[in-house]
């Protein structure tokens, strides 16, 4: 079983080749930044991670899903930092013997990713008035 995890600064580049000889199903999902958020035009999404916990939890999830669904391979890449509208911020490749376990693994992975992996996204709106980030107070502060 092959498991690869990557956190990438900015938009994901085109997927590099990935082939598992014994697979009967190879499934890919790509998440693309939508042009609007809650009806407002977007410029980009800012993804925030918490190193090294983010990568550790992403790997833990990938290994669990691959084992639970009997996959032959799983490869996941997620952006951090700014990703413009229309660009890919998330890619999941799953290789399995048959399609059923691959499709189930894909769904399970994405559902758990959104609950378990410390990754946040903040919308960058086209209008300048919307906040895009919070200030840092190194000494700690009560707002």
């Amino acid at each position: 079983m092959q498991v690869d995890v990557e956190l990438h600064p900015g938009p994901l580049p085109p997927a590099p080749p990935w082939h598992i000889d014994t697979a009967g199903a190879a499934i890919r999902f790509e998440g693309v930044v939508r042009p609007t958020e809650q009806g407002q035009p977007l410029v980009a999404l800012d993804y925030q991670q918490y190193p090294p916990m983010t990568e550790r939890e992403l790997r833990r999830l990938a290994e669990q899903i691959a084992q639970q669904h009997g996959l032959l391979g799983l490869r996941v890449a997620h952006s951090h930092g700014r990703v413009p509208v229309g660009k890919v911020s998330f890619r999941l490749d799953v290789a399995s013997k048959h399609r059923a376990e691959g499709l189930a693994a894909m769904d399970a992975f994405i559902n758990r990713l959104k609950r378990e992996v410390p990754l946040w996204k903040l919308p960058v709106y086209a209008t300048a008035s919307a906040p895009t980030s919070a200030p840092t107070h190194p000494e700690g502060a009560t707002p």
């Binding site: 918490y50 916990m53 998330f90 959104k114 410390p118 990754l119 946040w120 107070h137 009560t142």
Partner: protein, 82 residues
């Protein structure tokens, strides 16, 4: 005991800062005590706290986990990867 909690993403925006330093009165405070103190210190966070988790030194922990001043504490909530 004084502790500092890291905040991220929308919760940092709600609180208006990326770290919060709080004083916990319990002699051996837990993450449960921290959850209550956070709601008091930053009321805009309160609605999101029940569905949030704490990480101590980069590992998820339950609310009965004891904490010390040396621990790195992080509030992990409103996550939205993918």
């Amino acid at each position: 005991m004084q502790v500092t909690v890291k905040l991220f993403g929308p919760q940092a925006q709600l609180a208006g800062c990326e770290t919060l330093t709080l004083t916990l009165d319990a002699p051996q405070p837990t993450c449960g005590d921290l959850r209550i103190a956070l709601a008091d210190a930053a009321p805009p966070l309160a609605p999101s706290l029940p569905a949030s988790r704490f990480a101590v030194n980069h590992e998820y922990v339950p609310d009965d986990q004891r904490i010390s001043t040396d621990d790195e504490l992080a509030l992990i909530g409103m996550i939205s990867g993918g």
